[in-house]
């Protein structure tokens, strides 16, 4: 998993580089300062960060062989992730209604590609979490073998960290 995440780091690194190159190329469309709603995105970022906390609690449940506690926090993590995705959908919708679509400018293209790839990673993470929950419900997740919980927790934290980087580079640096 560590090996795979190293590869993912290069992937997001390239996407962020493209974005940094293009953040001022707005082709007369809206730019970062015109369109970002920093308070709103800060709240959804906070939600995602909290999901790392619940993930830790779920993992702790797994380590302590407490399956009920693990399931509870898995569900909580998945729910926070879903709230974040909901926020992203809302944000995209409002940007489109303000006249910034994916084809508007190099800035908008790189913004949407970067953030939606992150969104896809969160979605895949939610599917992993629900998969774990289902396996555990079916009694197919032996507690003495929690490598899967380990790996998915690691993945989830990685996706969170990537969001911190994206939030800094995409939202805060151009505006600040």
């Amino acid at each position: 998993m560590w090996v795979f995440l190293a590869s993912e780091a290069m992937f997001f690194g390239s996407l962020i580089t493209t974005y940094m190159l293009y953040k001022d190329r707005t082709a007369n469309g809206p730019g970062p300062t015109d369109i970002f709603d920093i308070p709103f995105t800060s709240v959804s970022s906070f939600v995602l960060l909290m999901s790392s906390l619940t993930m830790v609690l779920a993992h702790d449940g797994a380590v302590k062989r407490d399956e009920g506690r693990m399931r509870l926090w898995l569900l909580a993590t998945a729910m926070l992730g879903t709230v974040f995705i909901g926020g992203q959908v809302f944000e995209f919708t409002s940007f489109v209604s303000e006249g910034m679509t994916i084809t508007t400018s190099p800035f908008s293209s790189s913004f949407y590609l970067l953030t939606s790839f992150h969104g896809i990673h969160v979605t895949v993470g939610i599917l992993f979490l629900l998969g774990l929950y289902t396996l555990s419900r079916l009694g197919r997740l032996p507690m003495e073998d929690d490598i899967r919980v380990d790996m998915i927790a690691l993945y989830w934290h990685f996706v969170d960290i990537v969001w911190i980087v994206i939030f800094t580079f995409v939202y805060l640096i151009p505006v600040g």
Binding site: V3, F4, A6, S7, E8, M10, F11, G13, S14, L15, T18, L21, Y22, R25, T26, A27, I102, T103, T104, S105, P106, S108, S109, S110, Y112, L113, F117, G131, L135, R140, P142, E144, D145, I147, R148
Partner: protein
């Protein structure tokens, strides 16, 4: 082999057939997957070779009229893409799959089903790319598909969509393999097999896997951006909207230059196995060879812009990249000198694998030296996009990469198929290929320096290029003859070849310690490794002058056995599975959906219903494959997963 399985549910039963078609479709055995990789890549080698012959027929003389410009563009693009992604990489993957686990004393890869998925994605991705010929247009933008030139406005038709999506599919395959190789090498080595006792081929597998891991995602981003531009109408490469015209070049070459080492390092590994065996000496400077390989990989990430000297990056960037490009010649030189020193004073047996290995050393040196000439930026201005470049990269990739692969084919053939290849035919194969190769590509140095541009489908008479081109064409057909000799040899070996013993070459590494062909579970007992070249050291001791003396049979100390009676107890091997194939089919179907989504280009409002249908079908197949994979019963609790 015994499968002491736990209870299985009837609905999710894993296939158990080991033979016949189902056996091949569901196999997770690294050896069978290796053979599949090799055979498929060889078939693509013939396809790419025919494309090369058509190109050379067109260029045999001035004003050739065999091909039109459009077809010519498609052929040189597909020749490059095929040889790089569908021949050299998977051929080396074939050896990595087959040989590496045995060399490190493992029974299989860390993730056997993931390994099968990589193979199916490679096969389907290759067919996907080549199917573009059936849909009227193959990719025609060169193997590096420079954007904005590859955007819909300049290159309409499905060709470049096939390119972008096809490479993405192949990329997933390689990425999965890379993770698999790294985890296998880190976790499944036999007891005593420390990293610095590992055979050099396994080391180069390890290094190559890291290169793939860090280079491929960058290409993936470039391809996603290209696909989005072509299908959704985004503006990553649309200069009219203010995009940067060389963004693609940067992204592509950050991948593309490490890719060069991805292709050559495995062949370096093969040669580092072959030369010591046929010189009857240990590899000279083992640690230096290993670290030079790692250094090449590391520096390889810092030289990409030497492909772009002529793009106008400015003197500072050009100087920096020129220096780093020259530095990379140092570890490469270390390897060459170590190989020469390995042969020095050895008792050399000039068998077919040895000849190919020596061929690599000589020809790669020529290619490496011409490479240093383009590291000099002003010199490069003169050579960019001429046939000199074509000569250079064929010397490193064919003269280096393919010769190494042929060395590996002749070397490991008896181990893989249990029969020897004919030596006389092997030597004929080598000499015709060696002469043909040099006849085809050496004159390109001249025609290039005399100003002949690459990728031109026609050239006028009276430029002084006629003779050189004719020689290149004759050389290309000589190579084709050499490949035919190999095919004859392979078929002959299958019919009447001499049966191979377990150790026909008097080898040094663990794969020669088991029977040929390798038994399904690789080792009857897990080997315990005491030294580098462990198998050699169980056969030979040194006398007072340091000469090898054979240890009498049976006297070797093999008292230690980790799992005595493993044969009686039965050895756990992973069960076959359908799901890797299902997942690969799902991904490929999605690929077709994407290609046909917007047949009229991004500016139109037309979305094809067929494209959407294919995407939906593909996603459903992919998800069912995924869930089948996860929910499939493992043979024991705590067995392999994803």
């Amino acid at each position: 082999m015994a499968t002491t399985s736990i209870e299985r549910s009837a609905t999710l039963r894993r296939p158990s057939s080991k033979t016949g078609l189902v056996g091949w479709l569901t196999t997770v055995d690294h050896k069978k997957i290796g053979i599949l990789y090799g055979m498929t890549a060889f078939a693509f080698f013939i396809v790419g070779g025919i494309e090369a012959l058509l190109i050379r027929m067109q260029l045999a003389g001035p004003n050739g009229d065999v091909l039109t410009a459009e077809v010519y563009n498609q052929l040189f693009t597909m020749h490059g893409v095929t040889m790089i992604f569908l021949v050299i990489m998977p051929m080396t993957a074939a050896f990595m799959n087959y040989v590496m686990p045995i060399q490190i004393g493992a029974r299989d890869m860390a993730f056997p089903r993931l390994n099968a998925m990589s193979y199916w994605l490679f096969l389907l991705g290759g067919l996907f790319l080549n199917s573009s010929f059936l849909f009227g247009q193959a990719p025609s933008g060169g193997w590096f598909g420079y954007a904005p030139n590859s955007l819909f406005a300049y290159n309409p038709g499905p060709g470049m969509d096939f390119y972008a999506v096809g490479l993405q599919i192949l990329g997933i395959a390689s990425l999965a393999s890379a993770v698999n190789f790294i985890v296998t090498i880190l976790n499944l080595r036999a007891p005593g097999m420390t990293l610095l006792r590992m055979p050099v081929f396994s080391w180069m597998t390890f290094v190559t896997a890291f290169l793939l891991l860090f280079a491929l995602p960058v290409l993936a981003v470039g391809l996603f951006e290209l696909t989005a531009d072509r299908i959704l109408g985004t503006n990553f490469f649309d200069v009219g909207k203010g995009a940067d015209p060389i963004l693609w070049q940067h992204l592509f070459w950050v991948f593309g230059h490490p890719e060069v080492y991805i292709m050559i390092l495995p062949s370096f590994g093969i040669v580092s196995e072959v030369l010591p065996v046929f010189s009857r000496k240990p590899l000279f400077g083992y640690a230096a060879v290993v670290f030079a390989g790692a250094a090449i990989a590391f520096i390889g990430f810092g030289v990409w812009a030497h492909h772009m000297f002529a793009a106008g990056l400015g003197p500072i960037a050009n100087t920096g990249f020129a220096l780093s490009s020259m530095v990379i010649a140092v570890p490469t030189g270390i390897k060459i000198f170590n190989w020469v020193a390995t042969m020095w004073g050895g008792r050399i047996r000039l068998t077919a694998p040895m000849l190919f290995a020596i061929g690599l050393v000589a020809q790669f040196t020529i290619g490496g030296l011409s490479g240093v000439t383009h590291a000099i930026a002003p010199h490069d201005y003169q050579q960019t996009d001429t046939y000199y470049i074509v000569a250079h990269f064929h010397y490193v990739l064919f003269g280096g990469g393919m010769f190494g692969i042929f060395a590996g084919l002749y070397y490991w053939w008896p181990k893989i198929f249990g029969r020897m290849l004919n030596e006389t035919l092997g030597k004929l194969n080598f000499w015709t290929m060696f002469v043909g190769f040099n006849l085809a590509f050496f004159p390109m140095h001249m025609s290039g320096l005399w100003g002949m541009p690459r990728r031109t489908y026609i050239f006028p008479p009276g430029m002084g290029w006629d003779l050189m081109n004719l020689l290149s064409t004759i050389g290309a057909f000589t190579i084709a003859f050499a490949v035919l000799v190999f095919i004859v040899n392979a078929v002959r070996s299958h019919r009447v070849g001499e049966e191979a013993t377990g150790d026909p070459w008097d080898g040094r590494t663990l794969e020669w310690s088991v029977e040929s062909p390798t038994p399904e579970h690789n080792f009857h007992e897990t080997p315990i490794v005491h030294s580098r070249d462990d198998w050699w050291n169980t056969k030979y001791e040194e006398d007072t002058q340091g000469r090898p003396v054979r240890v009498p049979a049976g006297a070797a100390d093999d008292g230690e056995q980790l799992d005595v009676g493993a044969r009686e107890r039965g050895i756990h091997l992973p069960d076959p599975s359908y799901w890797p194939l299902v997942v690969a089919i799902g991904i490929t179907v999605i690929g077709y959906g994407i290609v046909f989504l917007r047949p009229q280009g991004p500016a139109s409002n037309q979305w094809s219903a067929g494209g959407i249908l294919f995407i939906v079908l593909g996603v459903v197949t992919l998800l069912s494959g995924y869930f089948g994979w996860v929910l499939e019963p493992l043979e024991e609790p705590g067995g392999d997963d994803h």
